[in-house]
């Protein structure tokens, strides 16, 4: 038995968040297995792992697909703690799910205590553009306010599915290299920054 952890490919931990039924699992399964699952079955908390090639380097992605349903809200903190990056998903056909992203964002920031945690705002179901309830401008505005990227996806047509996962992994990777390079001074800097923001608030 080897006691040392094997120095395998880098592992990036991604968490899918968002209201129930917006397509978190569909996006995950499309990314994992290239297929669109139509039958809806609420998720509790499922995890997946896959080896992928990110810009020529082999890495592992760990996807935690969480429950969107309200009744799991209390336990979310526990899941969020382990995440290194978040895909915050809503459905462009459901305004409520868009409003809920605000709450998810706040909870993540509270748990991770980090304003610049890798984070993507994802508007799913863009194949149903004719049933759109959330105007594109509003989505972009919110992303701008949070200073995060906004991407529209379709788990059904696979549009932008790889993009959101890979973009997020890139952000996570660059955050990790930045962190490992960071001197103690820089780390302090960031602390200061954060404190400044807090006082502003």
């Amino acid at each position: 038995m080897s006691k040392k952890p094997t120095a395998g490919p880098a592992l990036h931990k991604v968490i899918m968040v968002g209201s129930g039924g917006v397509g978190k699992s569909a996006l995950t399964l499309q990314f994992m297995y290239d297929e669109f699952v139509e039958d809806y079955e609420p998720t509790k908390a499922d995890s997946y792992r896959k080896k992928v090639v990110l810009d020529g380097e082999e890495v592992q992605i760990d996807i935690l697909d969480t429950a969107g349903q309200e009744d799991y809200a209390a336990i979310r903190d526990n899941y969020f703690r382990s995440g290194e990056g978040f895909l915050c998903v809503f459905s462009i056909t459901d305004d409520e799910s868009f409003q809920a992203t605000q709450e998810f964002r706040e909870q993540i920031l509270r748990v991770k205590n980090d304003e610049s945690i890798p984070f993507l705002l994802v508007g799913n179901k863009c194949d149903l553009n004719d049933k759109r309830k959330v105007p594109l401008s509003e989505c972009q505005l919110r992303a701008q306010q949070w200073s995060v990227p906004y991407v529209e996806t379709s788990a059904k047509t696979r549009e932008n599915v790889d993009k959101v996962f890979f973009d997020l992994m890139r952000e996570i990777r660059s955050r990790k290299t930045e962190d490992s390079k960071a001197t103690s001074g820089r780390a302090k800097d960031r602390c200061k920054k954060r404190r400044l923001k807090c006082t502003l608030l």
Partner: protein, 700 residues
Amino acid sequence: MKEFDDFNFSVDKYTKELTRECVGGSDLQQRKKEIEAYNEQTSATLKQTCKKNYMQFIQTAKEISRNTVYVHTDYSLLQSIQPILTDLESEMYQLSHILIEQRNILATMTDGKMSSQLKANDSLEAAEANAAAATEDVENSHATRAVKEMVQGFNGNLEGKTFLNEGALIELDGNDYRPIQRVFFFLFNDVLIVCKVKHDKRLEFLTEYDPKKIAVINIKDLDGVKNAINIITPDGSKIYQSITAAGKSEWIEKLEEAFRFDQQKKSKKGQAPQPPGRTKQQQTPSKSTTPEKLQDQSPSDAQPKSLEDETPEWLSTASEELQTLVAQRHFEDAQALIKRTQDFLRQADRKKLPQADAIESKVKQQEQKLTNVLIQELSNSHNRNLQIALRAARRPLKILVEMGRSRQASATLLKVCTVSLRVAQREARRNNAEISELFFCDLTQVACDFLSAFEQQPACVSALVVWCNAELQYFASQLIKHYLTKGTSLEAVAKCVERVRKPATKLTEIGLDISYHLEGLLRTTLESLIEESKQRLLDAVGRTEESWQPYNLQTKSNLKRLLHELDTLGIDMRAQATGDTWLNLTQSTLVFVRQFLQLTEYCGCLAKGEALMQSLEQLLRDLFLAQHALKPPSDLAVDPNFVMKNKVFLVDNLLPIAIDKFRQISGRQCEMLRELHTKLARQQGAPLPRQRSVYTTDVF
């Protein structure tokens, strides 16, 4: 009262049964009296038996002492009496022991009865709840005792906790997923006890967690690690593996139950007065309010004429009755009632039925509702297992057909089947199972069930055909995506296609001919795969390095093996063997012979479908030509006769066999190879008619 004598008599069980049987407190009181009487009677009998035994004992003792006096010297007699004495003594001891035990049992029984009686005051329900609570209590105390007895080093208090689950799991390393240790979980409503399983199977307490502070993740995909869950605890994330998939899902469920335990209890209490069926019932009256109002109006209009009202009672209540029947899910009865009402209204004299119109419209509404419910039922019957789905669909289907809603029903049924079919395929694919067979079996099954349900409806049958084509399209796309990917070897392609074609042709037996459509769907992909294989094979031929020397197999057995292998492929090369280990051809010729015959087999398989014929023939021809055109480099000194010999062998021996083989497998003539043969044979100089007769079996 006989139960008391039963060896397996259990106080708890008896009490439970008693409370279930008795109606009301007075009955229980009566039983109590009876038991008490029995108690007294038993103890009296016991006392008597005891006294009798004791008396006997004394008498025997007296006799013995007397005997000792008289037969003072008879030692042997004394010795034989001694065991009797000991026996008697032990019997006495046992008796008193039994007596004590009996008394205890009776005491606990009366106690237990008293307590349950207190609770079971006047309602039977309360008694039953009590019984359920009792089993729960038993389970709890059982688990609590197990934890106390078996787990070393645990001294927490488990009083008043509800036991939820226990079981063995394997803890895995978070990095490389190797097993670290065997663990055993005890889950109570507010504590999860984790123990280590030691080598002597004993349990050692490791740690405990509050189920409300841990998060459970179902690991769906982790480098082939099966049945694993991830538990995020305050001291880090841990991976546990269950032996079975069922065990894993049970743990996920139970841990969630523990997580929600307090909420659940509250909500249970809150919901208790509202049975789950209530929502439905609520809907029914609210819907029926409008028609009822209508009804209220119409009688007032019809009042003056009410003298002639001959509406039978069952008819006027039909609508309400239908509501009840639908709510109770007696769909057949509901349908029969609708039919009866309609028949009656059609035949009856409308003038004598002032409410006829109102009733008719109401019944119509109910019919619509019944249809909706049945369609709903039908669309809910989808299941991962097609058989189950079809079986579940049968009942609503039958009624819907009788109601004349075949079209709606067939569309819904096919939708349900689509889901089952695709889910099954996906699962089979993930488990590396055979998907072609599965698909066609499922298709057949759907078709058979469908035809037997809708045989009389031509419109529905054409819906089935359309559906089959759609499913076929999906299946073909999956096949192309997952099994006929770029770079698949011809062998795998041939096997895959063969597996699809066989069952497809079988479907014609039930009147479904989908082969042609299927060939069409796969054609482009197969053609490009053949083209790709051709390029690859040609490249390989071009790269061969040849010394143009006879092939030395080094050992006799090697030679024998090769000859045997070629023999099974259909070519006899024994004539070419010279010496013990030599073959009088080059190595590359032999390799090519083997490869070409194998390819002919695969191509023959694929060529069963006419569409691919041309590209397959081209592949074989081009490959053969490439090999045939191989020339020794100019700087290499070789025997030109030997080079020629190889070429002649290819044309005269290999080619006819390949042509024949192709025809045998595919049932088609490979014209291109035949032309090639004629051409090459002519090039080689005067072909002898005798040679031709070897292979020309066909009449031109």
